[in-house]
Amino acid sequence: VPILNGLLGVEFFAAYAYTAAIPLLVGRDMRAARQFLHQELAHITVVRTLIESVHGEASVQRASYPLGHPHGRSGLLAMLHRVEAESIRAYVEAIPKLSAGGVRAAAASVMANEGQHISVLRASLGLQPVPAALVTGSE
């Protein structure tokens, strides 16, 4: 349960970051960010469900999260990239520690989706969208 609550924390952070960024983005960036926010909210539901399935107590969202002071489109996208990379690193560390196979597989499906998000963000920033064969969040 503490491992899953750690993942819930990074999902809260990601949802907070997209919520803050969406009003400042336009066009394709805004449409993508809105879709990714919906997916982060779905991840929160998934992780909460996993915690409740083992009769654990899910942690609650904090009032605020440190986003820095991003300026302009590239600053906002870079901030979202940073948050997604942090999510991936958290999943890479957490997944091998989860004992139940079904929970591991579900968490890996969430991590893969975060990988898709960061790939789109990287392309928007003019970076190689799939930079490595093994995704660790440090790319």
């Binding site: 997916q39 579900a106 499906s109 799939v130």
Partner: protein, 206 residues
């Protein structure tokens, strides 16, 4: 030494011996069970890795075939060549993991006919020989990436070694990124269609 008598010492010795013997018996069983469990886990891990390696070999063959056979734009050709290098890294990484467990990787497929059969078993029914145009190439490779994601998803639930679980999670995330990039190429940069679901692959029952 007050309070100690020879018979007490002897009785104590025997009691100690019996206790020690019991402890030895217990420890002889417990490590044996532990060793069996580890061996069982490693054997199962090897089976899972062989399955994954076979899927990755099919993916690498498919990329190589499509790059050689289809008429591709320079952007798409460059992307596919890059993704082929990733698939080859996955093949090599899985072979190395199998080697550490004392197993050889499966023999790589050598013909399109064999790969067509394996692709069909993975749910990709379009034969490689039918791929001539870019949209056909992208459609087939999106199917290949979906099959890889499904294989890794099953594997992550079954592997017992934390290091292998981590390797599988890092690989499937790369394959999900391939899926997204291929989908964007296939659908003129449609970002919403490129990341359509909150889970990759979609997990039933969640």
């Amino acid at each position: 030494m007050s309070g100690w008598a020879p018979h007490d010492t002897r009785r104590g010795f025997i009691r100690g011996l019996l206790a020690g013997s019991a402890a030895l018996t217990a420890t002889a069983v417990a490590p044996g069970q532990a060793v069996a469990a580890v061996r069982g886990g490693a054997a199962r891990d090897s089976e899972v890795l062989v399955t994954l390696a076979a899927v990755e070999q099919v993916a690498a063959f498919s990329y190589r075939y499509v790059i050689g056979a289809a008429r591709l734009s320079p952007t798409t050709a460059s992307t596919l060549r890059r993704f082929l290098t990733h698939e080859l890294v996955h093949v090599q990484t899985l072979a190395a993991a199998l080697s550490r467990l004392g197993h050889a990787p499966p023999a790589a497929p050598k013909s399109a006919v064999v790969v067509d059969h394996r692709l069909a078993a993975l749910g990709v029914t379009e034969p490689l020989g039918h791929v001539h145009l870019e949209r056909q190439a992208l459609s087939l490779l999106i199917g290949v990436e979906t099959a890889e994601e499904n294989a890794y998803h099953r594997a992550i639930g079954e592997l017992s070694s934390p290091a292998l679980v981590r390797l599988a999670a890092e690989s499937v995330t790369c394959d999900a990124q391939h899926w997204t990039a291929l989908s964007e190429l296939a659908h003129d940069g449609d970002v919403l269609g490129a990341v359509p679901h909150a889970l990759a692959p979609v997990v039933q029952g969640l």
